[in-house]
């Protein structure tokens, strides 16, 4: 297991009222992401536990782009990864975020 902690600046969307929620599943090539309210409205926090070693730079790039793409300030994302490709990671994160907005 490799772990990664990332704390990024982000814009907050005050109209979001996030309930904690879990998306996805820890199965081969997939991941689960737990979205919760964070402590700082101007930051977005990521905690990643991954089974695939040596991809820290890829994770950073994927998460940084995600945090730039959406108003995720004040949210925290905890991820358990079982070898998802960046495409799947981005898709899950987008789905999780869009569901918060829809809920």
């Amino acid at each position: 297991m490799e772990t990664l902690h990332l704390d990024l600046p982000a814009i907050q969307d005050a109209s979001l009222n996030p309930r904690a929620a879990l998306y996805g599943v820890v199965s081969s090539g997939n991941l689960e992401v737990l979205v919760e309210r964070g402590h700082d409205a101007t930051r977005c926090v990521f905690e990643v536990q991954t089974a695939a070693h040596g991809f820290v730079e890829v994770w950073k790039a994927v998460l940084t782009d995600f945090a730039a793409r959406h108003p995720v300030g004040g949210l925290s994302f905890a991820i358990h990864d079982a070898g998802a490709t960046p495409a799947v990671v981005s898709l899950r994160l987008d789905q999780a975020f869009q569901s918060l907005r829809g809920a």
């Binding site: 297991m1 904690a20 879990l22 996805g24 599943v25 820890v26 199965s27 997939n30 689960e32 737990l34 919760e36 536990q49 089974a51 905890a78 358990h80 990864d81 079982a82």
Partner: protein, 304 residues
């Protein structure tokens, strides 16, 4: 766009729970935010999950309060470890106290989780005892089986302890997986890659044929919901119609079951393939193409 049914087999456990129960009625106990994960998986450097692969809580089914237990087959094959098992046991013990209309047990599991095999084996034994206590309290336990892992190993035994089994054609119940039997006994004994054969041995249709499953439904969450709802709503009526009321086992009911199982074990050695049974029953060789509805109807006609 043409809509297909919402597949029970494909859905994650969380989606199944949402779609099986009345909208918005579910509340979870010891949910993912509490992060009660398996220390044993972590010790072996295996990925963990925030809910350890099982969701427990309460909700409403057609306005009747129920306790819901749903295994996530995609996480470690729905296998039972210490935390996973304890959550199920806790929910069952709670049913004894809270007396809901029913317990819904969505089994999707290969049995014991090998990474914590001893804990898993004991946990399944504890689940069995807790399940007996629920039934002794007069609360029916309804098993729903339609996930990719089916109900195998100890969870196959647990499935058969339930009062009612609702299964899809894609669902399976058994003890040893076909791969295990093939590995130990050879491909001549059981060719696990012959998927059609695997389903003729353990699949929903053969389980319904043998009277183990109560009802065969489409691979559609709405169909599972409708079937479970019918049983919770008018449960005594439904069970009476089928002559099923094993919630409380008595010496007489178990003696009758002993007779029945004894007769089945006496079936001749030809019976190594569900198709042989179906042919003898006059169902022909088109069983695999019958819809669940057609199949239930044919069997009910034969049974009456």
């Amino acid at each position: 766009m043409r809509g297909l049914a919402q597949s029970y087999r494909e859905a994650l456990a969380r989606l199944r729970v949402q779609a099986l129960l009345d909208p918005g009625s579910f509340s979870e106990w010891v949910g993912p935010t509490q992060r009660v994960t398996s220390p044993h998986l972590a010790a072996l450097e295996a990925p963990v999950s925030f809910d350890d692969g099982v969701i427990v809580g309460q909700g409403l089914l057609h306005a009747h309060p129920v306790i819901m237990i749903a295994q996530e087959g995609q996480f470690n094959g729905g296998a039972v470890g210490e935390v996973h098992g304890a959550k199920i046991r806790g929910a069952l013990l709670r049913a004894v106290r809270d007396k809901p209309g029913a317990v819904l047990l969505c089994i999707d599991s290969g049995g014991v989780r090998l990474h914590e095999a001893n804990a898993g084996l004991i946990a399944i034994s504890e689940i069995m005892r807790a399940l007996f206590a629920v039934q002794e309290a007069g609360i029916p336990v309804i098993a729903l089986i339609g996930g990719a892992c089916g109900a195998f190993g100890g969870m196959g035994i647990v499935a058969r302890l339930c009062d009612v089994i609702i299964i899809s054609e894609e669902g399976r119940i058994g003890l040893s997986g076909p791969e295990v039997i093939e590995t130990v006994k050879g491909v001549e004994e059981f060719d696990s890659r012959d998927r059609a054969l695997v389903w003729r041995i353990t699949g929903g249709k053969i389980r319904r044929t043998l009277g183990e499953a109560t009802l065969l439904v489409d691979d559609d969450i709405a169909a599972f919901r409708a079937a479970a709802g019918e049983m919770v709503g008018a449960r005594s009526l439904f069970l009476k119609k089928r002559g099923l009321n094993p919630t409380t086992s008595s010496l007489q009911t178990l003696q009758a079951a002993q007779q029945q199982l004894g007769a089945r074990a006496e079936l001749d050695a030809e019976i190594r393939d569900g198709q042989v049974l179906w042919s003898r029953m006059g169902l022909g060789d088109q069983v695999s193409l019958m819809s669940p509805e057609q199949f239930n109807r044919r069997l009910e006609a034969l049974e009456s």
